[in-house]
């Protein structure tokens, strides 16, 4: 059997890490989930997981924020797949996400519908 795809959740909020993990399980995605609590830790882990991890990044984090982390990850590896997600949608942030090289930008709702959808479509692409 092929290795299961890896998903790395980088979010400073523990609730978001746990709930998103649950939502991924509930959606029936066959993936291996890892987590990181900050941009700095996330970039390190992303480097170890190269090349096949899908990285889910929160935009707002103390220290290195999601946009910076995304840029760093993309600098290490153009082909990493990064989803930037946020609780507050904002057109300026969306443009920033694009400029940082994000593959997707989506909103975190209670059921994480958009984030899970983005992971799914990156796995199949």
């Amino acid at each position: 059997m092929r290795n299961r795809p890896k998903v790395l959740i980088i979010d400073d909020s523990e609730a978001d890490r746990i709930l998103l993990h649950e939502a991924i399980k509930k959606a029936g995605l066959e993936v291996e989930v890892q987590t990181a609590r900050s941009g700095e830790e996330g970039v390190k882990k992303a480097n170890e997981l190269r090349p096949e991890a899908i990285i889910v990044l929160d935009t707002l984090m103390p220290g290195m924020n999601g946009f910076e982390a995304c840029k760093k990850i993309k600098e290490m590896d153009q082909d990493s797949k990064v989803i930037l997600c946020t609780g507050v949608v904002d057109a300026v942030d969306a443009a920033k996400a694009r400029a940082a090289g994000a593959d997707d930008y989506c909103v975190k709702t209670d059921d994480y519908e958009a984030v899970v959808g983005a992971i799914k479509s990156l796995i199949t692409s």
């Binding site: 082909d79 949608v89 443009a95």
Partner: protein, 392 residues
């Protein structure tokens, strides 16, 4: 990644020139994906297969000319893919026509390599900016739509909870009323027929119980009234009434209470007031609430009850006291549910703080408006304004 590889389509009938252009582009950036076509037909096939990021288009083609292709391309909705015309003519008329049809730029033959590089780079940069903006816009819209959906879901849940709360409150109030009535009548039996058998103290305590049961009953009635009004703002018994007469009656009932506190009641009635449709009991309830409060929150002076014609076809009823008054910051809170304001230097009188909220729904049920003005320490005026013709 697809996003990083720029796709450029060259439409040019001269094979030598095609090769030259391809070479220049590949030299510029090895990531460019260059495809070519030699005629209008091949151009159409190419764009049907995949849309490029930039098209270099020769004006002179063997089957149909470049203008024809350009016009059709734009008409088919491909507005944001830049097309640069390549022509040997250097003809001003051709340039104007190209611009009109939606070309973004021109390259003249014979070509200068630097010129081509600069123009291609510029068009691709513009294209990227447009693409990025479109992407950001689309992602934002998707997010907003989702948030909106979620908000609606939460709102529905809140509405359900609110309804559950209403049902609960009204059920509990109803359930409370029955035992209360039983206690009240039993108590009045004891209180009534025990001449001599009760000590003065026992009587005093019985009296206290009776007063507090009355108060409890009033509170429960208030809650029930409010819930009823909230769930069914209609259900008013509207009938033609003489407002002045109705107010006169209500005020007369208050005379003993006012006299008790040495307060004078004064009335001033608008002489020219037609009868009009209102719910007599409900409007009396509002007035009673106003008068009760005026008496409760005054220690001296007079209370003026006045009716007057108001803006348009309306009448304003006001109750003005010379009591403790209300601080300005508290005025907006007055008509909210359960709001009781601590009037300084005044013992907090018992009540639910529902009276004014109920009054507000009654007045609004008549399509009227309720309000209050006050100078702290000088007195307050509570008023409501009713339309003289409700509905058609």
């Amino acid at each position: 990644m697809a996003r990083n590889r720029c796709k450029i389509l060259i439409i040019e009938d001269d094979p030598g020139f095609r090769e030259l252009l391809t070479g220049i582009l590949n030299q510029m950036d090895e990531n460019f994906e260059v495809r070519c076509g030699g005629s209008y037909r091949e151009a159409r096939e190419a764009i049907q297969k995949e849309l490029p990021d930039l098209i270099l288009l020769d004006i002179y083609l063997p089957d149909k000319d470049g203008f024809y292709f350009l016009e059709e391309f734009r008409k088919n909705g491909h507005e944001d893919i830049p097309v640069v015309l390549v022509s040997a003519s250097g003809n001003e008329k051709d340039k104007l026509r190209g611009l009109e049809l939606g070309a973004m730029d021109f390259i003249n033959k014979p070509i200068a390599i630097e010129d081509i590089r600069a123009r291609v780079a510029f068009q691709l940069r513009l294209k990227k900016i447009t693409d990025d903006q479109k992407w950001a816009c689309q992602k934002t819209n998707e997010g907003i739509k989702l948030l909106y959906k979620e908000l609606e879901k939460k709102n529905k849940k809140l509405e359900q909870l609110d309804q559950l709360k209403d049902e609960f409150v009204s059920m509990v109030s109803h359930e409370l009323r029955t035992p209360l009535t039983a206690i009240k009548s039993s108590l009045s039996v004891v209180y009534g027929d025990t001449e001599g058998r009760l000590s003065a103290d026992q009587k005093r305590f019985l009296e206290i119980s009776r007063k507090n049961i009355d108060r409890l009953a009033r509170l429960i009635n208030d809650v029930l009234d409010y819930e009823k009004l909230k769930s069914k703002p209609v259900g008013f018994k509207m009938a033609e009434n003489d407002l002045n007469a109705l107010i006169g009656e209500t005020v007369r009932d208050f005379e003993p209470i006012a006299a008790n506190k040495n307060l004078r009641l004064e009335t001033e009635f608008e002489a020219d007031l037609p009868k009009f449709a209102l719910d007599r009991d409900k409007i009396m309830q509002v007035l009673t609430n106003f008068l009760n409060n005026a008496v409760k929150f005054s220690e001296k002076g007079k209370i003026r009850i006045k009716t007057a014609r108001w803006d348009g076809d309306t009448v304003r009823v006001s109750v003005e006291d010379e009591g403790v008054g209300i601080e300005e910051e508290n005025l907006p809170k007055l008509f909210q549910t359960f709001s009781q304001i601590t009037n300084q230097g005044f013992r907090k009188p018992g009540g639910t703080g529902l009276g004014l909220a109920i009054s507000k729904s009654i007045v609004e049920g008549h399509r009227g408006r309720i309000g209050a003005e006050s100078v702290y320490g000088k007195g307050s005026t509570f008023y409501f304004i009713l339309p003289l013709r409700v509905g058609k």
